[in-house]
Amino acid sequence: MKKIVSVTVALCLIFSLAACGGSSGAADAKRLTLNVYNWGEYISDGSEDSMNVIKEFEAWYQENYGTAVHVNYDTYASNEDMYAKLKSGAVSYDVVIPSDYMIARMVDEDMLLPLNWENIPNSEYISDDFRSLYYDPDDVYSIPYTYGIVGIIYDANVVDEEDAVGWDLMWNPKYAGNILQFNNPRDAFGTAMYKRGIDVNTTDPADWQAALDELTAQRPIIKSWVMDEIYNLMESGEAAIGAYYAGDYFIMLDAQADSVDLRFYYPEPTNYFVDAMCIPSSCQNKELAEAFINYMLSEEPAIANAEYIYYASPNRLVYESEDYIEEMGEEAMEILYPDLESFQDAYNTYAYRNLDRETLDLLSTLWETLKVS
């Protein structure tokens, strides 16, 4: 009796959720499938009155090509997760959106297919600043999706204006116990190397050791090592200083407590990243993938994505759009799109590149030393 009741209740639960949750019903014989693999929370998905880009793409494709498409949208939390999945050959995806250094690695290992630009005419809207970047010098395998710059976020109620200059703020003993540092080796060492003016892609062990010394000196005054915990800590005022990406600053600004007044600035030099759309070699339907990429580059989806993700867009249709500029506001536009003489030069000098095996091992060892000592 007990068993029957619980099983029945459970089944009712599932059926009711299936009724209200499921989007597409029985598989249509003529229906195409597109498998997209992207970061989590990295596309405008209809929440908070934003445009549901995936649904709109399915509708648009049906209208223009007459065939129904179902998009399987999967997410990952880091480049390494995505790489492991693709490398194992266990799953096939048609579109994937990795970060720059991962694209360089995947190109090296023949994991990406060259894009057919005739199927992606909207690529002309990507600003020239984003051509010939180091990871894809001939612009064959990728087209930029978002980009970002690392900056320092601080609480103006705690930090004095004169101290908010350069990377030194994160090493300032006056704010001991209020400083947050990246909890991943590349970014943490990066902050120390930018501070010292060392090349972040150096292979010289002495340079890495110098960076380790900086981080060891910083250890006593930091509050903790964080990644996404930084949001809650900064918003509630538990920490006053932290380095993170420009777009994420606005998310924190939105949710900050009344007693907190968050500000942002770029120290020099700093880290740049670019996330770009690519087609992996396991792709099942290249034309469909290219149609999707082309759709993502068109005005409405690109603006919707840029507004949802809050990162900067390399797409002219976005940053020149009056609606977008109004929606973002002056301050956001200034921070997300700083006046750089040449993004290309800054990027090619300061972005993280794929390190060789030896240097990666050294980095691993030094990181462990730092954390354990």
Binding site: K2, S6, G89
Partner: protein, 273 residues
């Protein structure tokens, strides 16, 4: 049993410690602002957002579907396996099988996950498939790690049971199969139910193994939440967690109330005999 003031206080403290995180989650699911540390105003905003989010609801449906299928299959298989192990004459063989079935339980999840993924890829390659992983591979993986728990729950009940019962049933004319369903199964039913509930909970909760064996378009809820962490987990997840918590609470209340009725009936009928 008379409990002292101290032990009652201690119980309360333990309960607070266990349920404080869930309580905070529930409170902040009604938060108008997006943060987990600042409560601005009560609102149902995140519940509305949750029901508009197709992807999350789809992943919830996937998770439940997987959990129910895995628990039913592993309960049936596990019970059959336990009956078989119990009947073995050679004790060393029974002991060996016991150890082997415990391996998925003792192994770290990540080893089980990776080895299953590699095996599926290997088999997929043999068949020339582009995608080796799908709902079915996830189901197989979940059944694999749920089985030992079911066997572990059923086997002791079988050992406790008086072997004369099914023998008596067969003496009275039952076929062995009928004897099993009529005589043995009711005796071991508590073990079977517990095993099924454990399998359901483990499957619902699983992250590492699901992560390695998931295929295209079939993401489960734990994986979906994990993937949100690069940016930030939006409060609609708190809303979802609150809903799941209350549903399970209701389920448990219902089954326990009806269970009491059943037990009371049995006690009354026994008295009459």
């Amino acid at each position: 049993m008379r409990t002292s003031m101290f032990s009652r206080l201690w119980t309360v403290i333990i309960f607070i410690y266990l349920f404080a995180p869930i309580a905070i989650l529930i409170v902040f699911s009604f938060n108008a602002a997006k943060s987990l540390s600042v409560f601005s105003a009560p609102s149902l905003k995140w519940y509305r957002e949750l029901f508009r989010d197709d992807v999350t609801l789809a992943s919830l449906k996937n998770t439940l579907l997987l959990a129910v299928s895995a628990s039913i299959v592993s309960t049936v298989m596990g019970t059959a396996a336990a009956v078989g192990i119990n009947k073995l004459r050679r004790r060393w063989l029974a002991a060996a099988l016991d150890t082997v079935t415990n391996i998925p339980m003792v192994n770290p999840d990540i080893i089980t996950g990776i080895s299953l993924m590699l095996m599926f890829v290997f088999v997929g390659r043999l068949f020339g498939l582009a995608t080796s992983l799908s709902f079915w591979t996830m189901l197989l993986a979940h059944i694999t790690f749920c089985l030992p728990y079911v066997i572990l729950q059923v086997l002791p009940k079988l050992r406790q049971m008086d072997p004369a019962l099914p023998e008596a049933a067969m003496d009275l004319g039952c076929t062995p199969l009928r004897a099993f369903f009529k005589a043995e199964l009711p005796e071991i039913m508590p073990g079977v139910i517990t095993g099924m509930i454990m399998a359901f909970t483990l499957s619902l909760d699983d992250f590492v193994i699901s992560y390695f064996t998931q295929g295209n378009g079939f993401q489960t809820l734990p994986i979906r939440i994990y993937n949100m962490t690069k940016k930030t987990v939006t409060p609609k997840m708190y809303a979802l967690a609150t809903i799941i918590f209350f549903v399970i609470l209701t389920l448990l209340l219902i089954t326990n109330l009806i269970g009491d009725e059943d037990g009371a009936k049995r006690r009354r009928s026994k008295k009459r005999v």
